[in-house]
Point group: C2
Chain length 257, copies 2
């Protein structure tokens, strides 16, 4: 029943949606064609159909962007909405106290995917964005998710190249193994200068009702003396989100998932 | 070049995405078929293709939901991201002061579409949701957007049936016209009991760089004596967002768009 014809329409539509990014939310049809590797005529026809169904929309000046209708369909039934709803009150409280950046992230494939971020206007530098990704070994969020992740994921990351952002980024499997053990033992990740020399990431695990780690809550603050005092605030907020997700309020098991 | 074959795949894909909602973010293939009006075999094949491209994903128990990959593509290039980013710091500040619900919304078609909401755990009742819609004439947000909307929209809403939620909801064109004039003149909408008898909506316009109203900022609080004191707080936050969007900080023109 499956025809190549069917497959190619959705496959091409996916390639067109992938052409857009936070830096380039508005593209011309020829830019879309170039980025998606489609002929301009094909891209033009498909963009027309995607606009007709509300997947894309056209600006007054013929620029093309993601359609509000598609945003609505995806957001109202978002796969991450219940987690985000549970987390937001705690994230707001944490942001009031800590300022700078407060982030909620999940494991997706071999990356950390950032679902939500609250940022103060003059906060310390931060490379992450909502719906942005980072490699697991470089940030406090990723390290928490990796430390509590499945064994095959750990082996894959330990075996692969470990890209570094700064001299402080974990660059060897030995150091990464030690970091993961420490994070599981102490219940949080403390990562000064791993992504940017001036920034400190602190992350704690968020657990679902069955106790498995479903997300990471993190703050990015300036790497300054006294920042260690933020750790209990982050951990308390992460436990609050876990309770809101139905996690029983028992002492955290140390050293396990 | 346009074939019915092409059209129908995207059209059916759109119908499948429309089957999901906040109340039903996880559906079986047979539920998807029923809601989208497709044969089960067709729905099953298309769901498989949408899963293959990350538009949908399957749970461990074969439930189908919106895919994290689609969420990511749509969110990172969201048509509303710059508005949302500009608004969030002001929304958080407003939420700290007022509590209950703080909402950001835009005009979409003949509805108000809610882009963002911050809610306190024990806040007053509120029917709106992120990516949810309401008719324009029933809520403070919708009335602000309608009052500053294009003439043909106003005529259409005034001519159409005016659904009421409570005895306070505007139910006649005469009252609606008077309300719109008042909102433009005073610079905000004050709507006690329009959507729910116990709730009060207060909304103010958010203006883009060229001065046109691009969004509404609103709070939903209990309809209690003294709530009028919240009005200047909402208006100040809405002006802050307008400035962040590039609106020059000149006195607001009264009575105009």
């Amino acid at each position: 029943m499956k025809t190549p014809h069917h497959e190619s329409v959705l496959s091409r539509a996916a390639r067109i949606l992938e052409a857009f990014s936070q830096d380039d939310p508005v593209l011309t049809v020829s830019e879309i064609a170039r980025r998606s590797g489609l002929h301009v005529a094909t891209a033009s026809r498909l963009v027309g159909e995607l606009v007709a169904h509300g997947f894309l929309s056209r600006d007054a000046d013929r620029g093309v962007r993601i359609g509000v209708r598609l945003w609505e369909l995806v957001t109202r039934a978002s796969p991450t909405l219940s987690l985000r709803d549970a987390a937001m009150p705690f994230m707001e409280g944490l942001h009031d106290v800590v300022g700078h950046h407060v982030q909620l992230s999940v494991l997706d494939g071999d990356d950390v995917l950032f679902l939500e971020r609250l940022s103060a206007p003059n906060a310390v530098i931060n490379y992450t964005r909502i719906a942005g990704r980072l490699a697991l070994h470089v940030s406090s969020s990723g390290l928490v998710l990796l430390a509590h992740g499945p064994a095959d994921l750990k082996e894959r990351i330990l075996a692969g190249p470990l890209t570094t952002y700064t001299p402080a980024t974990p660059a060897t499997p030995v150091r990464l193994r030690a970091l993961m053990a420490e994070i599981r033992q102490q219940g949080y990740a403390y990562c000064p200068g791993y992504v940017h020399v001036e920034a400190l990431g602190i992350a704690a695990p968020v657990r679902g009702a069955d106790g498995t780690v479903v997300a990471a809550l993190s703050v990015i603050v300036p790497d300054e003396p006294g920042a260690q005092a933020i750790v209990p605030v982050v951990r308390t907020a992460a436990r609050g989100i876990s309770r809101a997700l139905g996690r029983r309020d028992t002492p955290e098991v140390r050293g396990g998932r």
